[in-house]
Symmetry: C2
């Protein structure tokens, strides 16, 4: 495995979403020597896409991803509004030079119990976004989300399922793997090997707290929980992954309450357990 | 599919665990015309195994399972104490004539991040219990638990993984499938078909609330949530499953606060959505 330094890390802006706006995140990364950033779209739009692109470029940061496209099921069917919003997301990803557009595909439509149907909507939507993304030179990274989010956030829930979609949809699409979502999966080692370098578009880290108090906002700093993070880094690097290691932590009662500079320092201090 | 009646239902005692002891559950099932029961071991031991067996027999109830054996990782390694406790569970299941001993296999050992190692402990433990269970004429039902319980309750998290274990361990072992744990799984239909009648030892129902407020105790009555329960019943019945449909609901803020007779009446009222 590589010996990681702060330059190999990327700050997902959600990690300090209660403390800093995007400009502050960019400045913070530069100050701490963190090599990359991954903005959420609301923060990007708030900053202004062109201004953000310039700030990121001037700070010399890599962009490990843009969070997030997807939500294909948000309106119950694949509407033009949903398709158009994903096109805008592709444009934004291109503007900031993101390694990929991370896709959180959406859960069950309101009132629906039809997860099979939801997955069909998602497949069709991904295909449409991918067509546009290819023309824009943007890679699309499907993020399989933990099965506990199948109803409300994403009905793509395993690495195998995401790769099956990639097989179906062709070039230009891969997976964005977050250890939080995949650590439990008995099939994950085989699937990471199946993915191969070209489809491993992003690698996200945080930790699974045991016990977990909240299904969304009780994620841990690397080392605080039970995930064998180095085992996963080894798996992706064995396939040739050499991109930024993105830190994305939702933590309402801990990390979101601390000074952001302290959070970034702790990310760097956690390098030995990544 | 069969047309279900109350006689096809089984009450898992956890559903009214805050209201009734085992004797009251048995009496309640008989009064409501519910055909079966599935006791938890603490309630069984509190009642006394021989007395419980007689009460169940006298009430004419089926026994869809005994909850639960397993927890092989509880002491960090497969200790004699853990093995012996599982033998006692087998004896208890035999004494009450349970269709199977339901296995919640255990999560990560205290302080461990080694889920692969935990799964090895579980496999060895299941093998030992199975040897004993065969001699006692008891079937062992592995319950794959939702991946959100991988750390703290069970590191067997998919139907495929459970069936792989069954393949490895041989006769006398199968799966106890709860829609709550498996509804999200994109591979579940194929795996239920793979299981076949002989390995479909139990079928549990409740519902997934959207949103879910608590990872353990916010399960819904059938129909309250987003699971297409009839789709799952169709899958297991297509394989020949004709056993009791067991209702197991953990619901701290709703069903555990209501009079137990009301809960049983609602179970029966939910028959059309099972």
């Amino acid at each position: 495995m590589r010996t990681l330094t702060a330059q190999d890390l990327s700050l997902n802006t959600a990690t300090v979403s209660k403390q800093w706006d995007l400009a502050e995140c960019i400045d913070g990364c530069a100050r701490h020597g963190i090599g990359g950033i991954s903005p959420w779209r609301d923060r990007l739009q708030e900053c202004g896409v062109d201004r953000a692109a310039k700030l990121i470029r001037d700070a010399g940061l890599g962009v490990s991803g843009l969070c997030r496209g997807g939500w294909y099921t948000a309106e119950g069917a694949l509407t033009q509004a949903v398709i158009d919003d994903n096109k805008r997301a592709v444009d934004e990803a291109a503007a900031i030079g993101a390694d990929c557009l991370v896709m959180v595909v959406g859960g069950l439509p309101e009132g629906s119990k039809d997860i099979v149907g939801a997955r069909e909507i998602v497949t069709e939507g991904l295909g449409k976004t991918l067509d546009y993304a290819r023309s824009a030179g943007v890679k699309v990274g499907i993020e399989p989300l933990h099965p506990m989010y199948a109803a409300d956030r994403a009905c793509v829930n395993t690495t195998k399922q995401a790769l099956d979609l990639c097989d179906q949809l062709g070039d230009g699409i891969g997976v964005a793997l977050d250890v939080y979502h995949i650590w439990w999966d008995p099939d994950v080692a085989d699937q990471i090997a199946r993915a191969g370098k070209d489809r491993l578009l992003a690698f996200h880290v945080c930790d699974w707290m045991n016990p977990t108090q909240d299904m969304l906002t009780d994620r841990g700093m690397m080392g605080e929980g039970v995930i064998d993070i180095p085992a996963f880094r080894q798996m992706v690097e064995a396939q040739g992954f050499d991109g930024l290691v993105e830190v994305e932590i939702f933590s309402a009662n801990n990390w979101w309450t601390k000074p952001a500079d302290e959070v970034l320092a702790r990310m760097i201090a956690a390098l030995p357990v990544i």
